[in-house]
Amino acid sequence: MREKAISIANLSYTYPDGTPGLQGICVDILRGESVGVIGPNGAGKTTLLLHLNGIFVSKNGNVEILGKKIGKESIKGIRRDVGLIFQDPDDQLFMPTVFDDVAFGPINMGLPREEVIRRATQALRWVGMDGYEKRLPHHLSVGEKKRIAIAAVLSLNPEILVIDEPTSNLDPRAKWGFIELLRGLTMTRIIASHDLEMVQALCERVIILDKGQIVADGPTERILVDVELLQAHGLAPDNQAGQSHKQH
């Protein structure tokens, strides 16, 4: 049996204003799996992802990454093992040059200069952005920024990649190019999205999250064909809308 990459046991979370965010989440993700987390806006997808590298920390220590509980001592290592990529690349890129952005993580890890340069260069090559080292991230296209954001996390050599809405605001060409890029990566991947087309193309397993709870978990080919299930959680158009669409 494959090792567990992520193990979550009964994780709950309440927002500071008192609204419930996550309720009793239990899930194991194996090494090398590629898992889609889908659900409507406000289902708690981002909140769940933020627990995976200790941005949000549950007091009960019920999130384990590669066998280690997330806690004060483990957190540094866990942030190296879990690369988290945010939806809006502008939230992530604020260094004067692409190189500085990609080198930021390795520098935080305290790696020696040579190694930082080696890792940053390699990460940029991975995402097909070598030659962009001296460019200003802010002036790039959305698609390019998204790639830099991935490189900025790959430079940490993470074992697990956690990506929030990778394809939002990308045009079709950029989107499919990006999907190709993600498919080429072989580490454990967790992808939160409501772009089912992408999830279909990238994930072998799908978890549906709604109102902070896991409402379905299974192989992609079973979940994504269950139209009623998808409809019930806002992931497929209601019958009426779908029909009038066909009639049009």
Partner: protein
């Protein structure tokens, strides 16, 4: 980083909640200015009692009020302690090693602290009993210069949007292993982060301005508001103004 939630309890029901916001603003502001003018410790205590009484009447949980007093305490408490030990007048009442406390020093330090807390506690019945957007409209109706009120209004609106933006930026930083410490790198990184926030905000400001133009903005900003002043509103105001005057005259 927390959202402003000063008007979290604006939905409660109390005589203060039901009070016309304009009358409420004027009357309680009058009381605040009266409190800071008090020079007699006993009257200042009365002022503090009035402030606490108003909070009780408004049904705003006192826990909530206490939670908001950290900023003032952080300023006032050290200041009072310094005055306590440095201002010497009247009889010596205590001595710690080389520090002495006099009755005059104690009274002056207490006066400053009591005035400060009375004034700040009065903000809650004034601001927390009505939604902040209504407070802003009330200010406008009270003839506070409209450009100033509009600035407050837009700033308030975008505080919420930008807090989220900064939160996301800080999370992205943390998740790449950045741990702020007392060092120059932390400061430089913070500078870049705020720089990026500023650049993005300017771009947003341009987009907002375009959206305003699209909807016919020509420099003039109005809202429709309905305030109704009843006799009881004026009566409540009259009572508080009378107290405000009494605090300084008696």
């Amino acid at each position: 980083m927390e959202y402003p939630q000063i008007d979290r309890y604006a939905g409660l029901a109390s005589p203060i909640h039901r009070w016309d916001p304009r009358a409420k603003l004027v009357a309680i502001l009058g009381l605040i200015f009266s409190v800071v003018l008090i020079t007699d410790l006993k009257m200042a205590m009365v002022g503090l009692a009035v402030a606490i009484l108003l909070v009780l009447v408004s049904r705003i949980p006192f826990r909530f009020v206490l939670g908001h007093l950290a900023g003032v305490s952080f300023f006032i408490l050290p200041l009072s302690v310094i005055i306590l030990f440095s201002y010497h007048q009247g009889d010596e009442i205590a001595r710690f090693a080389f520090l002495t406390v006099t009755s005059g020093g104690l009274e002056h330090a207490s006066l400053i602290a009591v005035r400060a807390f009375a004034a700040v506690i009065l903000i809650f019945p004034m601001i927390s009993t009505v939604r902040f957007d209504v407070t802003m409209k009330a200010l406008e109706r009270l003839r506070v210069p409209v450009r100033l009120v509009r600035m407050i209004m837009f700033t308030y609106r975008y505080i919420f949007v930008l807090i989220e933006e900064v939160q996301r930026m800080l999370r992205a930083l943390t998740s790449r292993g950045f741990t702020g410490g007392m060092n120059i790198r932390t400061l430089i990184t913070t500078g870049k982060l705020i720089g990026m926030l500023f650049v993005r905000t300017l771009e947003r400001a341009e987009r907002v301005y375009r959206a305003m133009l699209s909807r016919g903005y020509e420099g003039n900003l109005q809202t429709l508001v309905e305030f109704k002043m009843r006799k009881t509103d004026l009566l409540k105001a009259a009572v508080l103004i009378a107290i405000a005057v009494a605090l300084n005259v008696l």
